[in-house]
Structure formats: structure tokens, C-alpha cells
């Protein structure tokens, strides 16, 4: 936490400058890696990029990726918001265990997660069998992609939502209730509006995480091919020249969507 001791102008200056320099190295690392690829693609192989953008197979796979991750995020948000609220507001026996379980998907190697998901959701398993009796099949289907993305993206949403709820003083809810609001109403009218920014940025992170998933998806649903699988397929069969345009296209579309989301959430904030 920031100390209240006032820093002298020079000191503050040197601290900020050094921090700025050190911090920019990290940003530079990320940007150079990505921009180098994007730049080379745009300048030296514009044709390849346009070709990829005009290929229905590529566009279908990118749209499928964005959509499946959106579905996974939606399911994660519907189930994860109540969980995050409970974790933020209540202490109970085994809470640390629950919190660790939420984080587990981050540490499990993705191919292992894929095999575990396959074992649970294959149509021959009890769970997968129950779903397939109502027409939901996971092997080589959109639903397989969604569960894999849900599995890996859950921690990002739940953790962001929990931090959001924790940042709201429970007294506000109590005041609302002393004024006659029900638990439901105080949650809906007070807590939710104040945390919506956290929920939103958690959802964006979860969505992004879903889009980038490869290892878990490829085991349960090799087909239909999501963009990361298609990129790997093209890399194996056609090398860098075949895979890079698709990767750059995916990055450009994602950057576009991210900026749009961030700007609109900023605008939303201001309006309030």
C-alpha cells in the first residue's frame, strides 16, 4: 500500500523514471514478440494475410473459436458469480481448499486436462452418456470445445469476480437491508452495479484464455477445428508461411475486440 509520507520532487521523479524504465522492458518484451510477427506479416506477406482472410475455412474457424469461448465465458459467469460472491462474503471450513480447487486448472498441463475431460464427457461415460441421451455430444463437437475452454478459463473469471465483491464494503449491503431491501435486492441494486467492472474484466480475461486454448481442446474435439488447432495444423503441414497469416489474423481480430471492449467499458464508467 502507498505510504502517506510525501516524497520530494526529485525522489519521486527518480523512482518513477526507474520504475518506468524497468516496467517498459516487460511491455517491450510482449510487444516486440507480437509486433515483430504482425509487422513482418503485414509488410512482407500482405497477400498471405488477405488470402487467409478470404478463406472461408479460416474465418469459420476463427468465428467458431470466438463463439465457443463466449459460450464458455457465459456459462462460467452464470455459475461463477454466485460462487465468487460466497467466497468473498463468507468464511467456512475448507474455504482454502475450495479456493485452491478453483486455481487448479491453471497448473494442470493442458493435454492432461483434455484427457480428464474426455474421460468424463465421452459418450460412453455416465456423465457423457446422460448428456448424449438429451442430444448433447462432446466428442468432436462444439460442446467439447466449450467444456475444455470452460475448464481452463474458470479461474480467471472467478478470481476477478471474488476480488470485485471483496472490494465492496459489506456495510453498504447491510445499510440497504436496514432500509428494507431484501438480500436479493441489495445484491442486485448495490453490489452488482458496483462490481460490474470487475466482472466484466474477469469475463474478458476468461474469454481471451478460452480463445488461446489448444492442448485440452485438441483431445476432446480435434474437429471442428478451432483457430489454435487450425494454426497448428497449418504449421505442421505448411510450415510457418501457412500458419502465421491465420495467427496474425486471429491476433488482429482479438486486439480489435479487446480495444472495443475496454473503450466501451471506460465509456460506460464515465457515464455513470
Amino acid at each position: 500500500m502507498a505510504t502517506k509520507k510525501a516524497l520530494t520532487g526529485v525522489k519521486r521523479h527518480s523512482l518513477s523514471l526507474i520504475f518506468l524504465f524497468v516496467g517498459s522492458l516487460l511491455i517491450l518484451f510482449t510487444m516486440l514478440t507480437l509486433f515483430n510477427m504482425i509487422f513482418r506479416q503485414l509488410v512482407f506477406d500482405t497477400g498471405g494475410l488477405l488470402e487467409a482472410a478470404a478463406d472461408p475455412e479460416v474465418i469459420e474457424s476463427i468465428v467458431l473459436t470466438l463463439y465457443c469461448s463466449f459460450l464458455a465465458t457465459l456459462i462460467g459467469a452464470i455459475l461463477g458469480t454466485p460462487l465468487a460472491y460466497v467466497l468473498a462474503r463468507h468464511d467456512f471450513l475448507g474455504k482454502t481448499v475450495v479456493e485452491s480447487v478453483i486455481d487448479l486448472p491453471v497448473v494442470i498441463p493442458h493435454s492432461v486436462a483434455g484427457i480428464a475431460l474426455y474421460a468424463l464427457f465421452m459418450s460412453r461415460s455416465p456423465v457423457g452418456g446422460a448428456f448424449s441421451s438429451i442430444g448433447v455430444v462432446f466428442e468432436d463437437s462444439m460442446w467439447g470445445i466449450v467444456v475444455a475452454m470452460l475448464f481452463v478459463s474458470t479461474p480467471f473469471y472467478v478470481n476477478a469476480a471474488r476480488e470485485g465483491f471483496q472490494s465492496i464494503n459489506p456495510r453498504l449491503e447491510r445499510v440497504a437491508r436496514t432500509l428494507g431491501a431484501s438480500h436479493w435486492k441489495s445484491f442486485y441494486k448495490i453490489t452488482l452495479p458496483l462490481t460490474v467492472r470487475h466482472l466484466f474484466s474477469g469475463a474478458v480475461m476468461a474469454w481471451a484464455r478460452g480463445i488461446s486454448e489448444f492442448g485440452a481442446v485438441v483431445i476432446i474435439a480435434y474437429y471442428p477445428m478451432i483457430a489454435p488447432v487450425l494454426i497448428f495444423h497449418k504449421y505442421t503441414t505448411h510450415g510457418l508461411a501457412g500458419s502465421q497469416p491465420i495467427a496474425v489474423l486471429l491476433i488482429l481480430i482479438c486486439i480489435g475486440v479487446f480495444i472495443l471492449l475496454r473503450v466501451s467499458s471506460k465509456y460506460w464508467e464515465k457515464k455513470k
Binding site: M122, T236, H238
Partner: protein
């Protein structure tokens, strides 16, 4: 960081300093450990086909136990890319072992690309059908009826993507070769064409299998196609699939049961090379022709440690090496065969015939 009360400042400062010191020592110590580890020992670099990783790890352990100052480093990968690392990227390696011995004469022994003048054929692999005791009809399946069992509508089976994995393009080859072996010209149609978008056509005695598609569109209720054959191993073990086409090495190394298919269709014997080459698979990139899966090795001219490399090769082709390959489902060629016995290192001559 948490704000601390003044009375505890001293202790927490010491604690913080201790933590910083531990982290710094761990970070620097780790770097020191790993860098000196590499410099103190002599490094023997081995490029090998991915499917040779496990047996080569066994041989590596034996070799390092006998030669404690040598660090054997395996770099497994696709055989073609292994060779290209030497011929195109100019990388140095001490032993090259390819899953297709013919890559050595065709890519390393030409006038333009002269990296060696000999090779040794030391082991083979075979296409098999892998399964577990829980697979449907596991108690009935034999080398005579496997294609009948795969035809049954309640059986699920798989092979890997022909465009992504050599085991993948060899699987439809086996199925096409089976038509002649069993005298049943519906096998390919029933197993492949009915379940996915791969097709076959005949042209003057050669069968051309067309898998030039990114999406092979398998019927999920019957057939699973995956990026690589190892993914199918997990699926068979989990019971989601009953059977998968795998190399005998992969099946054995993962403790699966496997069906030994007739030598006329399992791509394991150089004696049937003429028969195997009657099937071809058109992929999204190139066309692959049926060939026996025969492993070959050589010591490239640019090897930094040729004597040590020759010693390592001896561990591969001597009796204990043969045991290792047998245990890994890659039957050794006994005795190993070379193209030119006058060119191979002296210590290997007793193990090899021309």
C-alpha cells in the same frame, strides 16, 4: 506488502532480507548449477525420430552409467526435420537415427549434400491395432477377423490425421493392403469411406488414397481422428475408443494389447517393399508412398565426437541394445545391416553385415 507496526519492524526487515537472499541464492545458484553441468561434461548430441525416444533413453542411461563424464542429449522429432537440421541449418550432431532409413541415402549422401557415406539399419516398427481388455470384442479379435470387428456398428476406433502424423497416413495404407490380403474388396469402403471423407481410387494396380483435406469429417459415433496417434492411446485407455491404429512400439510402451497384423500389410518388412509401394496417400502437402518402417542411423561427418558417437552406436546394435528394442516393441534387425561395411567405424564391424 502489508504495513507493519514499528515494534515488529526489525524482525520483519530481517525476514524480508532473508527471503530476498534465499530467492537470490536460489536463482543464481540454479543458473550456476545448470551452466556448469553442461560445461564440465562432454556432450553427445543425438538427433532421433520421436518414436525412438524411449529406447534411446534406456540406452542413454546405460551409456552414461559406463561413461560418467559424458552427457548424452537426445533431440527427438520428426525424422525429416532432424535430417534438415543437419543439412539445411548446419547443426552439429553426433548420431542421427531416422524412422525411415532411406532418408539418409536420399538426403545426406548426395553430391550436393554430402554428410555421410554409410548407414546402418538396426530396427523396424510395425503397424498394429492397439486395444485393452475392456475393448468391445477384445476376446474375439484375431489377425484374421479384425476388419470384421471394426465393421460392427457398436465398435469405435481411431487413427491419427494422415496430414499430421506418419502413423496416420500409414493406417489407411494398412486398410487398403488388407483388401488384397483377405480377398475382400469392401474393407476400405466399409471402414474408411463410410466413416470419413478419405477416398481411394485405383490406377493401374496402384491405390491412391486421397486425404487432401483439412477437415476429414469423421463420423464421431464410429471413428475418431486425432492430431497424433499418442492422443488415441489415452482415448483407448479411457474406454472411449475400442481400437486404434498404432505402431507396435507405441502400443507396447503404453502397455496396450496389440494385434500383430500379417507382415504383408503391417509395413514392417523390407521383403514386401514392392507390395507396400502399391499404396500411396495424397496429403495436403505431398504424396507418401507405402514403405517398410525401417530405422537407420549414421554418424554425420560434422560430428564433434565421432569416436564417442561410434561407442554409443555400439550400445544400440549390441546384444543389450537388441533387448532394449525388443522391450520397446521395435524388433531389432539381427545382425544389423549396412550399405558399405568398409566405411563404418572399426568397433561396429563385428555387429554388422553388408
Amino acid at each position: 506488502m502489508k504495513k507493519v507496526k514499528n515494534s515488529k519492524t526489525g524482525i520483519s526487515k530481517i525476514l524480508a532480507a532473508a527471503i530476498v537472499a534465499i530467492v537470490a541464492v536460489a536463482a543464481i545458484g540454479g543458473v550456476w548449477y545448470y551452466t556448469t553441468l553442461e560445461t564440465e561434461e562432454k556432450v553427445l548430441k543425438i538427433f532421433c525420430a520421436g518414436s525412438l525416444t524411449l529406447p534411446f533413453e534406456d540406452i542413454e542411461a546405460q551409456f552414461e552409467a559406463d561413461n560418467p563424464t559424458v552427457d548424452v542429449q537426445l533431440e527427438p522429432g520428426g525424422s525429416v526435420t532432424r535430417v534438415q537440421k543437419i543439412t539445411e541449418h548446419g547443426e552439429e550432431c553426433d548420431v542421427l537415427a531416422s524412422a525411415d532409413y532411406s532418408l539418409i541415402p536420399s538426403m545426406m549422401m548426395t553430391e550436393d549434400s554430402d554428410y555421410t557415406d554409410w548407414y546402418i539399419i538396426f530396427a523396424v516398427n510395425r503397424m498394429t491395432l492397439a486395444y485393452t481388455d475392456n475393448s468391445k470384442y477384445a476376446d474375439e479379435i484375431t489377425a484374421d477377423n479384425w476388419y470384421e470387428i471394426l465393421r460392427r456398428s457398436d465398435v469405435k476406433w481411431g487413427f491419427s490425421d494422415p496430414n499430421m502424423d506418419p502413423c496416420g497416413y500409414r493406417s489407411p495404407m494398412v486398410i487398403q493392403l488388407a483388401e488384397q490380403e483377405y480377398g475382400d474388396d469392401m474393407i476400405f469402403e466399409d471402414l474408411i469411406e463410410a466413416n470419413c471423407d478419405i477416398t481411394v481410387s485405383e490406377d493401374a494396380g496402384t491405390y491412391i488414397i486421397d486425404s487432401n483435406l483439412t477437415d476429414l469429417n469423421p463420423d464421431t459415433n464410429r471413428l475418431a481422428i486425432r492430431e497424433k496417434s499418442v492422443d488415441l492411446v489415452s482415448m483407448v485407455q479411457e474406454g472411449g475408443l475400442d481400437y486404434a491404429f498404432e505402431y507396435s512400439s507405441v502400443a507396447k510402451q503404453h502397455d496396450l494389447n496389440y494385434l500383430e497384423l500379417p507382415v504383408t500389410i503391417d509395413l514392417s518388412s523390407a521383403d514386401y517393399a514392392d507390395l507396400y509401394k502399391t499404396v500411396k496417400v495424397e496429403k495436403t502437402t505431398t504424396t507418401s508412398t507405402g514403405k517398410p518402417i525401417v530405422y537407420g542411423l549414421t554418424i554425420p561427418n560434422n560430428s564433434p565426437n565421432p569416436e564417442l558417437a561410434a561407442e554409443f552406436v555400439e550400445y544400440i546394435i549390441n546384444e543389450s541394445g537388441q533387448t532394449v528394442f525388443n522391450n520397446n516393441g521395435q524388433p531389432p534387425v539381427i545382425p544389423a545391416v549396412t550399405n558399405d561395411i568398409s566405411k563404418i567405424p572399426e568397433n561396429l564391424k563385428t555387429y554388422v553385415v553388408q
